[in-house]
Symmetry: C2
């Protein structure tokens, strides 16, 4: 049986590898339009910052690894231009036709340069390896002194601090009143004062001026799922604009699965569709799709909406809903906000800020955000686990979390926040 995977970054390679592991007899081909497979796209801002030497240093596996060790055929530079499902056939840009029995569609997402900067040689986006290499070349050859970053999402914030770390004077423009795509005044306020400390001039609720005089313009105004071809082929999209799938990640076309940044999934707190293009989710969805093309029926349960970003040394973790989002989803949110040391005073830990949101009637946790240092990732993961298991604040407040002075406090900031929530719910 011929399995074809369209896209060779996170979801695609996970799908191909999982399918191979479960069924040695399949003929598996990965079609990747780019030059590289398997590079860690989330590392691109660190390449620009100078922490990573080259895109190749971000490459996890070379095609040979898949070809030799896993017997998966990898074709780079293979751009699909049409999907003809009735004939179980893909058409490539060079006119070639590729037959499949089962298809995994992982066409990803894209960052588009806003039209007013389309021809501006100072303007860049950062989404693919090629984008990063172009930007890296410009930084090296033109040595820009000032930068304007448009967009206050993950890439916008990471790039603003990366360019700042390289010594550029950076201005950040965000059209809405919040940062990181989270309507959350607590979070936005904390980020704003941190950006000020990093000496990044931040303009919220502001369109960038028509005539930007920066030497470099980085536009990061929002990703879109790559779904044009899929839609043309009759693959159904969901409300979010990304591909809709069943729990087993099959699309409305029988035998065609979708995974990763081109597909929507379910939010475990609300049970509603969500599109949040992140590598972790792409890997997990890819593995499930890869299992299911072999005849399994594994289900992807959805996501809690967890994300983590470093903004100039500050770790920011989010999961579930903010107060405003929770209200819009039909919950009656109650919110605790605390600041507490993340480890014993004599280990000089940074203060940790925790926001924890619960639903008044069910007492279930519905979201949280954590700001601080290394301990943030683990803390936001504990909240994400609690959200997934529909945990109440009452149970959460009694969690047996670890304590040792170099790493934590006897009363973890998460538990302090939970205690405050209990008082508010009393």
């Amino acid at each position: 049986m011929r399995v074809v995977v369209v896209g060779g970054v996170a979801a695609g390679l996970s799908a191909a590898s999982r399918a191979r592991r479960l069924d040695a007899s399949l003929e598996i081909t990965v079609l990747e339009k780019g030059r590289r497979i398997s590079y860690a796209a989330c590392g691109l801002p660190y390449l620009i910052e100078g922490q990573v030497a080259s895109v190749d240093a971000l490459t996890v596996y070379k095609p040979e690894k898949f070809e030799r060790e896993r017997n998966i055929r990898i074709r780079t530079g293979a751009e699909v231009v049409s999907l003809q499902h009735p004939r179980r056939e893909l058409v490539l840009a060079n006119g070639e036709r590729v037959k499949y029995d089962r298809l995994v569609w992982t066409s990803g997402a894209r960052e588009v340069k806003p039209s007013e900067y389309a021809d501006d040689p100072r303007a860049f986006v950062l989404h693919t390896d090629a984008d990063a290499e172009k930007l890296q070349g410009y930084l090296r050859d033109r040595n820009p002194k000032t930068a304007a970053v448009l967009g206050g999402g993950y890439i916008g914030l990471e790039m603003a601090t990366a360019l700042r770390a390289r010594g550029l004077k950076v201005s950040l423009y965000q059209e809405t009143t919040d940062l990181l795509g989270r309507e959350d005044a607590f979070l936005t306020g904390a980020l704003l004062s941190h950006l000020e400390r990093c000496r990044i001039e931040t303009h919220l609720n502001t369109r960038a001026p028509a005539r930007l005089d920066a030497d470099l313009i980085l536009t990061a105004t929002g990703l879109k799922p790559n779904v044009t071809l899929a839609a043309e082929a009759g693959i159904e999209l969901g409300r979010t604009g990304a591909i809709r799938t069943t729990e087993t990640l099959e699309t409305n076309l029988h035998g065609v699965y979708a995974a990763g940044d081109c597909a929507e999934t379910t939010h475990v707190v609300s049970g509603r569709p969500i599109w949040l293009p992140l590598g972790t989710t792409a890997n997990k969805m890819g593995r499930i799709a890869g299992a299911n093309v072999t005849g399994r029926r594994e289900r992807f349960p959805g996501i809690a909406g967890t994300s983590l970003v470093r903004v100039g040394g500050l770790a920011v973790g989010l999961t579930g809903f903010s107060e405003l989002q929770a209200r819009r989803e039909g919950f009656s949110p109650v919110v605790a906000r605390i600041s507490a040391p993340g480890k014993a005073r004599y280990f000089w830990g940074r203060q940790v800020q925790v926001e924890l949101t619960a639903d008044r009637s069910s007492r279930r946790l519905v979201g949280g955000s954590v700001l601080g240092d290394e301990g943030v990732a683990g803390r936001v993961n504990v909240i994400a686990t609690a959200l997934t298991m529909r945990m109440t604040v009452d149970d959460f407040a009694q969690l047996d979390l670890s304590y040792a002075p170099p790493y934590a406090t006897a009363m973890d900031p998460l538990l302090i926040a939970a205690q405050q929530l209990l008082h508010l719910l009393d």
Copy 2:
């Protein structure tokens, strides 16, 4: 109504504070036999290491804070020598009698010097503030060059590395074949090679020689709950030897509650009694007992057996059961053991080792251990949360955990371990 709290460290002060917060009319007295209240006992090894200047620097609150701000009477140097429940009366060492209506018993645990070292001036224990000050004086005045540490539990390991960090030549003796009280060859093996790197000579399965020629002997061969007085007064003990309570932390004597290191609790994985004297649990139990003396009926759900310790720069976190312990508890354990980077390669994170144990028939997680750096605390907390919610490996493997290159990998070591467990369960 008179509420008397016996013991003024973790559980006792939590109980008194919570009771006061819920009922302003109570007359609340804390009787502490020691000189200080509210010092962070878990910080004592760091005092010996030199990270902390004095016991006073470990003191969280001074008695005045409780007296003035919370209207709680604090009596230090007040040793209870008898509890006469029929008369609702405590007798102090000075003969004084103290009446109560409700009693919270938080008599803690103790570390006893083995009898062969009872009179040896080189031999110390480290459990209380007074122990630490004696040891600190000896280190300062006698400048010992060699140390023998007896016991491979938390205090033993922390003290071995603390003394090593001060430049002493350290030998560690442990009578059983495992370390940290966890029958777990994986963990013990990892710790042994780490102790070797720290140049601590470790002897497992070995009684210390009768004539130890070390300049300093630290005995940490095991804690015992302080229950003599309680037992004399008719308070029932459990199988673990610590005080048995109901879910609301009441003892068999009506109106007498027990909390903290003197009391046993329930293991959330097995549902069986467990005695694990740790400050975090003491704080939580104290708060519940403090609420319940005011007439509430809050329940303490038990613990997952989570603990965390730093051993010479290595973070070690444990929760739930090891394979051997799980088998003894009636589970059919299946174990995954993996080693993976804790963050992106270009952020130079240490490898993280994860052991994850599940029950074959129910597919529930029953335990885990994690070794590495700062990320260990959060990872063991995620496992503890999963144990508390009786999560299956299937659900755990799909958790939406956070990812950002400076702090984590796209596929968290926890999820890699869960994937391995899924293969083993397949």
